[in-house]
Symmetry: C2
Subunit: 303 residues, 2 copies
Protein backbone atom coordinates (compact mmCIF):
# COMPACT_ATOMS: atom_id res chain seq x y z
CA UNK A 1 0.00 0.00 0.00
CA UNK A 2 2.75 2.45 1.00
CA UNK A 3 4.68 1.37 -2.08
CA UNK A 4 1.69 2.25 -4.24
CA UNK A 5 1.40 5.69 -2.68
CA UNK A 6 5.10 6.39 -3.22
CA UNK A 7 4.90 5.37 -6.83
CA UNK A 8 1.80 7.55 -7.39
CA UNK A 9 3.51 10.52 -5.72
CA UNK A 10 6.60 10.21 -7.87
CA UNK A 11 4.54 9.79 -11.03
CA UNK A 12 2.68 13.00 -10.25
CA UNK A 13 6.01 14.73 -9.61
CA UNK A 14 7.40 13.47 -12.92
CA UNK A 15 4.30 14.66 -14.77
CA UNK A 16 4.49 18.15 -13.30
CA UNK A 17 8.20 18.61 -13.90
CA UNK A 18 7.91 17.17 -17.41
CA UNK A 19 5.29 19.80 -18.26
CA UNK A 20 7.62 22.49 -16.91
CA UNK A 21 10.56 21.20 -18.99
CA UNK A 22 8.47 20.77 -22.15
CA UNK A 23 7.23 24.36 -21.90
CA UNK A 24 10.74 25.69 -21.37
CA UNK A 25 12.09 23.66 -24.30
CA UNK A 26 9.37 25.09 -26.56
CA UNK A 27 10.30 28.58 -25.41
CA UNK A 28 14.01 28.02 -26.03
CA UNK A 29 13.69 26.45 -29.50
CA UNK A 30 13.88 28.83 -32.47
CA UNK A 31 11.28 29.01 -35.23
CA UNK A 32 12.31 26.96 -38.28
CA UNK A 33 12.70 29.87 -40.69
CA UNK A 34 15.29 30.97 -43.24
CA UNK A 35 17.40 28.96 -45.66
CA UNK A 36 18.56 26.57 -42.94
CA UNK A 37 15.04 26.04 -41.54
CA UNK A 38 15.13 22.33 -42.28
CA UNK A 39 17.84 21.66 -39.71
CA UNK A 40 15.78 23.42 -37.04
CA UNK A 41 12.76 21.32 -38.02
CA UNK A 42 14.92 18.21 -37.69
CA UNK A 43 16.22 19.31 -34.26
CA UNK A 44 12.65 20.02 -33.19
CA UNK A 45 11.38 16.67 -34.48
CA UNK A 46 13.60 14.58 -32.23
CA UNK A 47 13.41 16.97 -29.27
CA UNK A 48 9.62 16.63 -29.16
CA UNK A 49 9.38 12.95 -30.07
CA UNK A 50 8.15 11.82 -26.67
CA UNK A 51 11.16 11.96 -24.35
CA UNK A 52 10.56 11.31 -20.66
CA UNK A 53 12.76 14.31 -19.71
CA UNK A 54 14.40 12.16 -17.04
CA UNK A 55 17.72 14.07 -17.12
CA UNK A 56 16.26 17.59 -16.85
CA UNK A 57 13.94 16.37 -14.06
CA UNK A 58 16.96 14.95 -12.21
CA UNK A 59 18.68 18.31 -12.63
CA UNK A 60 15.66 20.05 -11.09
CA UNK A 61 15.44 17.49 -8.29
CA UNK A 62 19.16 17.93 -7.60
CA UNK A 63 18.51 21.63 -7.08
CA UNK A 64 15.40 21.04 -4.96
CA UNK A 65 17.43 18.85 -2.60
CA UNK A 66 19.35 21.93 -1.41
CA UNK A 67 17.13 24.92 -2.29
CA UNK A 68 13.50 26.01 -2.15
CA UNK A 69 13.10 26.79 -5.84
CA UNK A 70 14.67 25.19 -8.88
CA UNK A 71 13.44 27.73 -11.44
CA UNK A 72 16.98 28.97 -12.04
CA UNK A 73 18.24 25.64 -13.34
CA UNK A 74 15.77 25.37 -16.24
CA UNK A 75 18.14 26.58 -19.01
CA UNK A 76 20.75 24.04 -17.91
CA UNK A 77 18.13 21.29 -17.45
CA UNK A 78 16.90 21.92 -21.00
CA UNK A 79 20.45 22.05 -22.36
CA UNK A 80 21.01 18.55 -20.97
CA UNK A 81 17.91 17.30 -22.80
CA UNK A 82 19.31 18.80 -26.03
CA UNK A 83 22.55 16.87 -25.47
CA UNK A 84 20.65 13.67 -24.72
CA UNK A 85 18.59 14.13 -27.91
CA UNK A 86 21.71 14.79 -30.02
CA UNK A 87 23.21 11.54 -28.73
CA UNK A 88 20.09 9.58 -29.71
CA UNK A 89 20.09 11.03 -33.25
CA UNK A 90 23.77 10.18 -33.81
CA UNK A 91 23.39 6.72 -32.20
CA UNK A 92 20.49 5.88 -34.50
CA UNK A 93 22.42 6.70 -37.71
CA UNK A 94 23.07 3.78 -40.10
CA UNK A 95 26.81 4.04 -39.46
CA UNK A 96 26.16 3.51 -35.72
CA UNK A 97 23.19 1.44 -34.46
CA UNK A 98 21.13 1.82 -37.66
CA UNK A 99 17.77 2.14 -35.93
CA UNK A 100 14.60 2.92 -37.87
CA UNK A 101 12.36 3.49 -34.87
CA UNK A 102 12.75 5.46 -31.67
CA UNK A 103 9.89 5.78 -29.20
CA UNK A 104 7.56 4.34 -31.82
CA UNK A 105 8.40 7.01 -34.42
CA UNK A 106 10.72 6.94 -37.44
CA UNK A 107 14.23 8.02 -36.41
CA UNK A 108 15.55 11.41 -37.48
CA UNK A 109 17.53 10.21 -40.51
CA UNK A 110 14.51 8.23 -41.73
CA UNK A 111 12.56 11.49 -41.94
CA UNK A 112 15.23 14.06 -42.84
CA UNK A 113 17.98 11.99 -44.43
CA UNK A 114 21.36 11.13 -42.94
CA UNK A 115 23.14 14.40 -43.69
CA UNK A 116 20.49 16.62 -42.10
CA UNK A 117 20.15 14.20 -39.15
CA UNK A 118 23.89 14.35 -38.53
CA UNK A 119 23.73 18.15 -38.63
CA UNK A 120 20.62 18.26 -36.43
CA UNK A 121 22.62 16.34 -33.82
CA UNK A 122 25.54 18.74 -34.18
CA UNK A 123 23.10 21.65 -33.93
CA UNK A 124 21.49 20.37 -30.72
CA UNK A 125 24.84 19.65 -29.07
CA UNK A 126 26.11 23.14 -29.90
CA UNK A 127 22.88 24.87 -28.92
CA UNK A 128 23.05 23.23 -25.51
CA UNK A 129 26.22 25.21 -24.76
CA UNK A 130 24.59 28.31 -26.15
CA UNK A 131 21.70 27.90 -23.78
CA UNK A 132 23.95 27.37 -20.78
CA UNK A 133 26.53 30.07 -21.49
CA UNK A 134 23.92 32.57 -22.73
CA UNK A 135 22.19 32.18 -19.40
CA UNK A 136 25.28 33.71 -17.79
CA UNK A 137 24.20 37.11 -19.11
CA UNK A 138 21.51 37.17 -16.39
CA UNK A 139 22.59 39.07 -13.31
CA UNK A 140 21.40 36.60 -10.67
CA UNK A 141 23.40 33.66 -12.01
CA UNK A 142 26.56 32.66 -10.14
CA UNK A 143 29.05 32.75 -13.02
CA UNK A 144 31.67 30.53 -11.43
CA UNK A 145 29.11 27.83 -10.65
CA UNK A 146 27.75 28.05 -14.17
CA UNK A 147 31.21 27.63 -15.73
CA UNK A 148 31.82 24.64 -13.47
CA UNK A 149 28.53 23.12 -14.61
CA UNK A 150 29.32 23.68 -18.30
CA UNK A 151 32.68 21.97 -17.77
CA UNK A 152 31.02 19.08 -15.92
CA UNK A 153 28.41 18.56 -18.63
CA UNK A 154 30.95 18.82 -21.45
CA UNK A 155 33.03 16.15 -19.68
CA UNK A 156 29.98 13.91 -19.29
CA UNK A 157 29.09 14.31 -22.97
CA UNK A 158 32.60 13.98 -24.40
CA UNK A 159 35.30 11.34 -24.67
CA UNK A 160 35.40 11.03 -20.86
CA UNK A 161 31.68 10.22 -20.91
CA UNK A 162 29.07 9.52 -23.59
CA UNK A 163 31.39 9.63 -26.61
CA UNK A 164 33.81 7.28 -24.82
CA UNK A 165 31.01 4.90 -23.88
CA UNK A 166 29.57 4.87 -27.38
CA UNK A 167 32.93 4.15 -29.02
CA UNK A 168 33.44 1.14 -26.74
CA UNK A 169 29.83 0.07 -27.31
CA UNK A 170 30.28 -0.08 -31.10
CA UNK A 171 33.81 -1.47 -31.11
CA UNK A 172 32.84 -4.32 -28.76
CA UNK A 173 29.61 -5.24 -30.56
CA UNK A 174 29.54 -8.97 -31.23
CA UNK A 175 32.50 -9.64 -28.92
CA UNK A 176 32.58 -11.91 -25.86
CA UNK A 177 30.45 -10.46 -22.99
CA UNK A 178 32.85 -8.98 -20.42
CA UNK A 179 31.97 -7.48 -17.01
CA UNK A 180 34.64 -4.76 -17.17
CA UNK A 181 33.59 -3.69 -20.66
CA UNK A 182 29.87 -3.61 -19.95
CA UNK A 183 30.35 -1.54 -16.79
CA UNK A 184 32.58 0.87 -18.74
CA UNK A 185 30.02 1.26 -21.50
CA UNK A 186 27.06 1.81 -19.18
CA UNK A 187 28.85 4.15 -16.79
CA UNK A 188 30.15 6.29 -19.65
CA UNK A 189 27.40 6.11 -22.25
CA UNK A 190 24.47 6.60 -19.87
CA UNK A 191 25.68 7.03 -16.31
CA UNK A 192 27.93 10.04 -16.86
CA UNK A 193 25.26 12.40 -18.20
CA UNK A 194 22.69 11.26 -15.62
CA UNK A 195 25.19 11.89 -12.82
CA UNK A 196 26.10 15.26 -14.33
CA UNK A 197 22.41 16.21 -14.58
CA UNK A 198 21.60 15.83 -10.92
CA UNK A 199 24.98 17.21 -9.82
CA UNK A 200 24.59 20.30 -12.02
CA UNK A 201 21.29 21.09 -10.29
CA UNK A 202 22.91 20.90 -6.86
CA UNK A 203 25.88 23.06 -7.90
CA UNK A 204 23.67 25.73 -9.47
CA UNK A 205 21.37 25.81 -6.46
CA UNK A 206 24.37 26.58 -4.23
CA UNK A 207 24.99 23.19 -2.63
CA UNK A 208 28.22 22.95 -0.62
CA UNK A 209 31.11 20.67 -1.63
CA UNK A 210 30.02 17.78 0.59
CA UNK A 211 26.51 17.95 -0.78
CA UNK A 212 27.78 18.09 -4.37
CA UNK A 213 29.97 15.03 -3.78
CA UNK A 214 27.12 13.03 -2.22
CA UNK A 215 24.71 13.93 -4.99
CA UNK A 216 27.30 13.01 -7.61
CA UNK A 217 27.77 9.61 -5.98
CA UNK A 218 23.99 9.19 -5.97
CA UNK A 219 23.92 10.11 -9.67
CA UNK A 220 26.64 7.62 -10.59
CA UNK A 221 24.70 4.79 -8.96
CA UNK A 222 21.29 5.55 -10.42
CA UNK A 223 22.88 6.26 -13.80
CA UNK A 224 24.29 2.76 -14.02
CA UNK A 225 21.07 1.25 -12.60
CA UNK A 226 19.09 3.18 -15.23
CA UNK A 227 21.00 1.56 -18.07
CA UNK A 228 20.77 -1.92 -16.54
CA UNK A 229 17.00 -1.35 -16.33
CA UNK A 230 17.06 -0.46 -20.04
CA UNK A 231 18.92 -3.70 -20.78
CA UNK A 232 16.30 -5.68 -18.87
CA UNK A 233 13.41 -3.82 -20.53
CA UNK A 234 14.95 -4.74 -23.88
CA UNK A 235 14.30 -8.39 -22.91
CA UNK A 236 11.22 -8.28 -20.66
CA UNK A 237 9.60 -5.02 -21.74
CA UNK A 238 6.35 -4.37 -23.57
CA UNK A 239 6.93 -3.44 -27.19
CA UNK A 240 3.88 -1.15 -27.25
CA UNK A 241 5.01 0.80 -24.17
CA UNK A 242 8.67 0.96 -25.21
CA UNK A 243 8.08 1.97 -28.82
CA UNK A 244 10.95 -0.15 -30.08
CA UNK A 245 11.77 -3.76 -30.76
CA UNK A 246 12.20 -6.27 -27.95
CA UNK A 247 15.34 -8.39 -28.06
CA UNK A 248 17.16 -5.97 -30.40
CA UNK A 249 20.26 -5.84 -28.15
CA UNK A 250 20.70 -9.61 -28.40
CA UNK A 251 20.16 -9.70 -32.17
CA UNK A 252 22.81 -7.06 -32.55
CA UNK A 253 25.33 -8.74 -30.25
CA UNK A 254 25.32 -5.79 -27.82
CA UNK A 255 27.13 -6.34 -24.55
CA UNK A 256 24.54 -5.86 -21.79
CA UNK A 257 24.25 -6.70 -18.10
CA UNK A 258 21.90 -9.65 -18.76
CA UNK A 259 24.29 -10.99 -21.44
CA UNK A 260 27.18 -10.89 -18.95
CA UNK A 261 25.47 -11.67 -15.62
CA UNK A 262 22.06 -13.13 -16.51
CA UNK A 263 18.75 -11.48 -15.67
CA UNK A 264 18.47 -12.47 -12.00
CA UNK A 265 21.97 -11.25 -11.09
CA UNK A 266 21.43 -8.05 -13.13
CA UNK A 267 18.37 -7.32 -11.01
CA UNK A 268 20.43 -7.93 -7.85
CA UNK A 269 23.14 -5.53 -9.00
CA UNK A 270 20.47 -2.97 -9.86
CA UNK A 271 18.92 -3.22 -6.40
CA UNK A 272 22.30 -2.83 -4.70
CA UNK A 273 23.03 0.25 -6.78
CA UNK A 274 19.73 1.83 -5.76
CA UNK A 275 20.38 1.03 -2.08
CA UNK A 276 23.79 2.66 -2.32
CA UNK A 277 22.33 5.64 -4.15
CA UNK A 278 19.85 6.20 -1.32
CA UNK A 279 22.61 5.75 1.28
CA UNK A 280 24.57 8.50 -0.47
CA UNK A 281 21.76 10.88 0.48
CA UNK A 282 22.20 10.30 4.24
CA UNK A 283 23.22 13.87 4.99
CA UNK A 284 20.10 15.31 3.35
CA UNK A 285 16.76 16.07 5.01
CA UNK A 286 13.35 15.38 3.52
CA UNK A 287 13.96 17.81 0.68
CA UNK A 288 15.88 14.92 -0.91
CA UNK A 289 12.88 12.58 -0.64
CA UNK A 290 12.14 13.14 -4.31
CA UNK A 291 15.63 11.91 -5.19
CA UNK A 292 15.06 8.86 -2.97
CA UNK A 293 11.75 8.13 -4.72
CA UNK A 294 13.33 8.73 -8.14
CA UNK A 295 16.05 6.18 -7.36
CA UNK A 296 13.40 3.54 -6.65
CA UNK A 297 11.46 4.56 -9.73
CA UNK A 298 14.47 4.15 -12.03
CA UNK A 299 14.33 0.35 -11.79
CA UNK A 300 10.53 0.09 -11.61
CA UNK A 301 9.66 2.01 -14.78
CA UNK A 302 8.06 0.28 -17.75
CA UNK A 303 9.54 2.47 -20.53
CA UNK B 1 59.29 46.10 -52.20
CA UNK B 2 57.14 47.25 -49.26
CA UNK B 3 54.58 44.59 -50.20
CA UNK B 4 57.26 41.93 -50.00
CA UNK B 5 58.38 43.09 -46.55
CA UNK B 6 54.80 43.08 -45.26
CA UNK B 7 54.22 39.59 -46.51
CA UNK B 8 57.47 38.34 -44.97
CA UNK B 9 56.59 39.98 -41.65
CA UNK B 10 53.15 38.37 -41.55
CA UNK B 11 54.52 34.99 -42.51
CA UNK B 12 56.97 35.16 -39.62
CA UNK B 13 54.15 36.17 -37.31
CA UNK B 14 52.02 33.25 -38.53
CA UNK B 15 54.90 30.80 -38.00
CA UNK B 16 55.54 31.97 -34.44
CA UNK B 17 51.90 31.92 -33.39
CA UNK B 18 51.34 28.56 -35.07
CA UNK B 19 54.15 27.07 -32.99
CA UNK B 20 52.55 28.53 -29.86
CA UNK B 21 49.14 27.07 -30.75
CA UNK B 22 50.54 23.67 -31.72
CA UNK B 23 52.37 23.40 -28.41
CA UNK B 24 49.26 24.35 -26.45
CA UNK B 25 47.12 21.88 -28.40
CA UNK B 26 49.59 19.08 -27.62
CA UNK B 27 49.44 20.06 -23.95
CA UNK B 28 45.64 20.09 -23.88
CA UNK B 29 45.09 16.78 -25.70
CA UNK B 30 44.79 13.68 -23.51
CA UNK B 31 46.86 10.53 -23.96
CA UNK B 32 44.99 7.88 -25.98
CA UNK B 33 44.66 5.31 -23.21
CA UNK B 34 41.90 3.11 -21.83
CA UNK B 35 39.11 1.26 -23.60
CA UNK B 36 38.06 4.36 -25.57
CA UNK B 37 41.63 5.21 -26.62
CA UNK B 38 40.82 4.83 -30.29
CA UNK B 39 38.52 7.86 -30.31
CA UNK B 40 41.27 10.00 -28.78
CA UNK B 41 43.69 8.73 -31.44
CA UNK B 42 41.15 9.69 -34.09
CA UNK B 43 40.66 13.17 -32.58
CA UNK B 44 44.43 13.57 -32.45
CA UNK B 45 44.92 12.41 -36.02
CA UNK B 46 42.81 15.17 -37.54
CA UNK B 47 43.89 17.82 -35.06
CA UNK B 48 47.54 17.34 -36.04
CA UNK B 49 47.03 16.75 -39.76
CA UNK B 50 48.62 20.00 -40.87
CA UNK B 51 46.11 22.74 -40.06
CA UNK B 52 47.26 26.34 -40.57
CA UNK B 53 45.75 27.34 -37.18
CA UNK B 54 44.29 30.44 -38.82
CA UNK B 55 41.36 30.72 -36.38
CA UNK B 56 43.40 30.43 -33.16
CA UNK B 57 45.92 32.90 -34.60
CA UNK B 58 43.10 35.33 -35.35
CA UNK B 59 41.88 34.89 -31.78
CA UNK B 60 45.35 35.77 -30.49
CA UNK B 61 45.67 38.73 -32.87
CA UNK B 62 42.23 39.95 -31.76
CA UNK B 63 43.54 40.02 -28.20
CA UNK B 64 46.83 41.66 -29.17
CA UNK B 65 44.93 44.52 -30.82
CA UNK B 66 43.77 45.69 -27.38
CA UNK B 67 46.25 44.20 -24.89
CA UNK B 68 49.98 43.65 -24.45
CA UNK B 69 49.86 39.90 -23.98
CA UNK B 70 47.54 37.31 -25.46
CA UNK B 71 48.69 34.35 -23.35
CA UNK B 72 45.35 34.24 -21.56
CA UNK B 73 43.37 33.46 -24.69
CA UNK B 74 45.20 30.24 -25.56
CA UNK B 75 42.63 27.78 -24.15
CA UNK B 76 39.87 29.51 -26.12
CA UNK B 77 42.05 29.80 -29.24
CA UNK B 78 42.73 26.05 -29.06
CA UNK B 79 39.07 25.28 -28.40
CA UNK B 80 38.20 27.05 -31.65
CA UNK B 81 40.69 24.87 -33.54
CA UNK B 82 39.01 21.80 -32.02
CA UNK B 83 35.65 23.03 -33.31
CA UNK B 84 37.11 23.74 -36.74
CA UNK B 85 38.63 20.24 -36.85
CA UNK B 86 35.35 18.61 -35.79
CA UNK B 87 33.59 20.41 -38.65
CA UNK B 88 36.13 19.13 -41.17
CA UNK B 89 35.76 15.52 -39.97
CA UNK B 90 31.96 15.63 -40.21
CA UNK B 91 32.04 17.48 -43.57
CA UNK B 92 34.32 14.82 -45.05
CA UNK B 93 32.02 11.91 -44.10
CA UNK B 94 30.50 9.95 -47.02
CA UNK B 95 27.02 11.15 -46.07
CA UNK B 96 28.22 14.77 -46.47
CA UNK B 97 31.00 15.71 -48.92
CA UNK B 98 32.49 12.19 -49.11
CA UNK B 99 36.12 13.32 -49.28
CA UNK B 100 38.98 10.83 -49.18
CA UNK B 101 41.77 13.37 -48.84
CA UNK B 102 42.27 16.41 -46.64
CA UNK B 103 45.54 18.34 -46.66
CA UNK B 104 47.09 15.51 -48.65
CA UNK B 105 46.26 12.86 -46.05
CA UNK B 106 43.48 10.26 -45.88
CA UNK B 107 40.42 11.73 -44.15
CA UNK B 108 39.49 10.61 -40.65
CA UNK B 109 36.84 8.04 -41.67
CA UNK B 110 39.26 6.54 -44.23
CA UNK B 111 41.63 5.73 -41.37
CA UNK B 112 39.30 5.04 -38.44
CA UNK B 113 36.00 4.10 -40.10
CA UNK B 114 32.85 6.20 -40.25
CA UNK B 115 31.51 5.45 -36.77
CA UNK B 116 34.72 6.38 -34.97
CA UNK B 117 35.17 9.45 -37.22
CA UNK B 118 31.68 10.66 -36.37
CA UNK B 119 32.42 10.18 -32.67
CA UNK B 120 35.84 11.83 -32.97
CA UNK B 121 34.04 14.90 -34.35
CA UNK B 122 31.53 14.80 -31.50
CA UNK B 123 34.41 14.38 -29.06
CA UNK B 124 36.33 17.39 -30.40
CA UNK B 125 33.25 19.62 -30.41
CA UNK B 126 32.43 18.70 -26.83
CA UNK B 127 36.02 18.96 -25.62
CA UNK B 128 36.17 22.50 -26.98
CA UNK B 129 33.56 23.57 -24.43
CA UNK B 130 35.39 21.64 -21.77
CA UNK B 131 38.54 23.55 -22.52
CA UNK B 132 36.79 26.91 -22.46
CA UNK B 133 34.60 26.39 -19.41
CA UNK B 134 37.30 24.53 -17.47
CA UNK B 135 39.51 27.55 -17.94
CA UNK B 136 37.03 29.50 -15.80
CA UNK B 137 38.39 27.74 -12.73
CA UNK B 138 41.50 29.95 -12.98
CA UNK B 139 41.30 32.98 -10.74
CA UNK B 140 42.50 35.60 -13.19
CA UNK B 141 39.87 34.87 -15.84
CA UNK B 142 36.95 37.31 -16.14
CA UNK B 143 34.05 34.87 -15.79
CA UNK B 144 31.43 37.06 -17.43
CA UNK B 145 33.62 37.66 -20.50
CA UNK B 146 34.36 33.95 -20.72
CA UNK B 147 30.67 33.02 -20.63
CA UNK B 148 29.99 35.60 -23.33
CA UNK B 149 32.74 34.09 -25.46
CA UNK B 150 31.43 30.54 -24.99
CA UNK B 151 27.98 31.77 -26.05
CA UNK B 152 29.44 33.57 -29.07
CA UNK B 153 31.43 30.55 -30.21
CA UNK B 154 28.50 28.16 -29.68
CA UNK B 155 26.37 30.48 -31.84
CA UNK B 156 29.03 30.58 -34.55
CA UNK B 157 29.32 26.78 -34.53
CA UNK B 158 25.61 25.97 -34.35
CA UNK B 159 22.51 26.39 -36.49
CA UNK B 160 23.03 30.17 -36.55
CA UNK B 161 26.50 29.60 -37.99
CA UNK B 162 28.46 26.61 -39.29
CA UNK B 163 25.70 24.00 -38.97
CA UNK B 164 23.28 26.36 -40.74
CA UNK B 165 25.78 27.05 -43.52
CA UNK B 166 26.56 23.38 -44.01
CA UNK B 167 22.91 22.38 -44.23
CA UNK B 168 22.33 24.98 -46.95
CA UNK B 169 25.56 23.91 -48.67
CA UNK B 170 24.45 20.29 -48.98
CA UNK B 171 20.78 20.99 -49.73
CA UNK B 172 21.69 23.40 -52.56
CA UNK B 173 24.36 21.19 -54.13
CA UNK B 174 23.71 20.86 -57.84
CA UNK B 175 21.13 23.67 -57.83
CA UNK B 176 21.21 26.89 -59.86
CA UNK B 177 24.02 29.23 -58.64
CA UNK B 178 22.36 32.01 -56.60
CA UNK B 179 24.05 35.09 -55.08
CA UNK B 180 21.88 35.11 -51.94
CA UNK B 181 22.46 31.42 -51.29
CA UNK B 182 26.22 31.51 -51.81
CA UNK B 183 26.63 34.50 -49.50
CA UNK B 184 24.52 32.72 -46.87
CA UNK B 185 26.59 29.55 -47.12
CA UNK B 186 29.94 31.31 -46.94
CA UNK B 187 29.01 33.74 -44.18
CA UNK B 188 27.59 30.94 -42.04
CA UNK B 189 29.76 27.96 -42.85
CA UNK B 190 33.11 29.78 -42.73
CA UNK B 191 32.61 33.44 -41.86
CA UNK B 192 30.82 33.00 -38.55
CA UNK B 193 33.57 31.02 -36.79
CA UNK B 194 36.33 33.24 -38.19
CA UNK B 195 34.50 36.35 -36.97
CA UNK B 196 33.88 34.71 -33.58
CA UNK B 197 37.57 33.76 -33.31
CA UNK B 198 38.94 37.28 -33.61
CA UNK B 199 36.07 38.78 -31.58
CA UNK B 200 36.56 36.27 -28.76
CA UNK B 201 40.18 37.38 -28.45
CA UNK B 202 39.19 41.01 -28.14
CA UNK B 203 36.47 40.27 -25.56
CA UNK B 204 38.77 38.12 -23.42
CA UNK B 205 41.55 40.71 -23.54
CA UNK B 206 39.14 43.30 -22.14
CA UNK B 207 38.27 45.29 -25.27
CA UNK B 208 35.44 47.80 -24.80
CA UNK B 209 32.11 47.49 -26.60
CA UNK B 210 33.10 49.77 -29.49
CA UNK B 211 36.29 47.82 -30.02
CA UNK B 212 34.45 44.51 -29.88
CA UNK B 213 31.94 45.72 -32.47
CA UNK B 214 34.65 46.97 -34.83
CA UNK B 215 36.64 43.77 -34.55
CA UNK B 216 33.53 41.71 -35.16
CA UNK B 217 32.81 43.71 -38.33
CA UNK B 218 36.43 43.13 -39.39
CA UNK B 219 35.99 39.40 -38.73
CA UNK B 220 32.79 39.16 -40.75
CA UNK B 221 34.50 40.71 -43.79
CA UNK B 222 37.69 38.65 -43.71
CA UNK B 223 35.66 35.53 -42.96
CA UNK B 224 33.69 35.86 -46.16
CA UNK B 225 36.82 36.87 -48.11
CA UNK B 226 38.61 33.79 -46.73
CA UNK B 227 36.00 31.44 -48.16
CA UNK B 228 35.92 33.24 -51.53
CA UNK B 229 39.71 32.79 -51.60
CA UNK B 230 39.16 29.07 -50.97
CA UNK B 231 36.69 28.94 -53.87
CA UNK B 232 39.26 30.57 -56.15
CA UNK B 233 42.07 28.31 -54.94
CA UNK B 234 39.84 25.34 -55.79
CA UNK B 235 40.06 26.53 -59.41
CA UNK B 236 43.44 28.25 -59.71
CA UNK B 237 45.36 26.61 -56.87
CA UNK B 238 48.31 24.24 -56.91
CA UNK B 239 47.25 20.69 -56.11
CA UNK B 240 50.55 19.92 -54.41
CA UNK B 241 50.34 22.95 -52.12
CA UNK B 242 46.62 22.49 -51.36
CA UNK B 243 46.74 18.77 -50.69
CA UNK B 244 43.40 18.18 -52.34
CA UNK B 245 41.87 17.97 -55.79
CA UNK B 246 41.55 21.03 -58.02
CA UNK B 247 38.13 21.61 -59.55
CA UNK B 248 36.36 19.40 -57.01
CA UNK B 249 33.76 22.10 -56.22
CA UNK B 250 32.67 22.28 -59.84
CA UNK B 251 32.54 18.50 -60.27
CA UNK B 252 30.31 18.30 -57.23
CA UNK B 253 28.00 21.12 -58.30
CA UNK B 254 28.93 23.22 -55.24
CA UNK B 255 27.63 26.80 -55.27
CA UNK B 256 30.71 29.04 -55.09
CA UNK B 257 31.50 32.71 -55.73
CA UNK B 258 33.19 31.93 -59.07
CA UNK B 259 30.18 29.83 -60.13
CA UNK B 260 27.83 32.73 -59.38
CA UNK B 261 29.94 35.80 -60.25
CA UNK B 262 32.85 34.49 -62.32
CA UNK B 263 36.49 34.65 -61.22
CA UNK B 264 37.25 38.29 -62.02
CA UNK B 265 34.22 39.65 -60.15
CA UNK B 266 34.87 37.26 -57.23
CA UNK B 267 38.35 38.78 -56.91
CA UNK B 268 36.80 42.28 -56.96
CA UNK B 269 34.36 41.38 -54.19
CA UNK B 270 37.21 39.86 -52.22
CA UNK B 271 39.28 43.02 -52.50
CA UNK B 272 36.36 45.20 -51.41
CA UNK B 273 35.78 43.00 -48.39
CA UNK B 274 39.42 43.32 -47.36
CA UNK B 275 39.31 47.11 -47.82
CA UNK B 276 36.19 47.27 -45.62
CA UNK B 277 37.78 44.97 -43.07
CA UNK B 278 40.78 47.30 -42.76
CA UNK B 279 38.48 50.35 -42.56
CA UNK B 280 36.70 48.67 -39.62
CA UNK B 281 39.98 48.95 -37.71
CA UNK B 282 40.12 52.77 -37.97
CA UNK B 283 39.84 53.35 -34.24
CA UNK B 284 42.80 51.09 -33.49
CA UNK B 285 46.47 52.12 -33.19
CA UNK B 286 49.41 50.18 -34.56
CA UNK B 287 48.70 47.25 -32.25
CA UNK B 288 46.10 46.28 -34.86
CA UNK B 289 48.68 46.26 -37.66
CA UNK B 290 48.85 42.48 -37.47
CA UNK B 291 45.11 42.29 -38.12
CA UNK B 292 45.56 44.65 -41.09
CA UNK B 293 48.34 42.47 -42.49
CA UNK B 294 46.32 39.32 -41.84
CA UNK B 295 43.41 40.77 -43.82
CA UNK B 296 45.68 41.28 -46.83
CA UNK B 297 47.19 37.85 -46.35
CA UNK B 298 43.81 36.11 -46.38
CA UNK B 299 43.38 36.66 -50.12
CA UNK B 300 47.05 36.24 -51.03
CA UNK B 301 47.65 32.81 -49.49
CA UNK B 302 48.38 29.80 -51.67
CA UNK B 303 46.82 27.14 -49.40
Amino acid sequence: MRQLKVSKKIEQYLDKRKTLVDKALKRFMPQPSGLAGIVIRAMDYSLFAGGKRMRPILCIAGAEAVAESADDVLPVACAIELIHTYSLIHDDLPVMDNDDLRRGKPTNHKVFGEAVALLAGDGLLTMAFNLMAGYGAEKKVAKKALLRVIDLIASAAGYKGMVGGQVVDITYEGKEPDPVVVEYIHRHKTGALIAASVTAGTILAGGNEDEVKSINRYGQQIGLAFQIADDILNIEGDRGVLGKGIGSDKERGKITYPSVFGIAESKNIQKQLIDHAIESLERFDNRADTLRDLARYVIKRKA
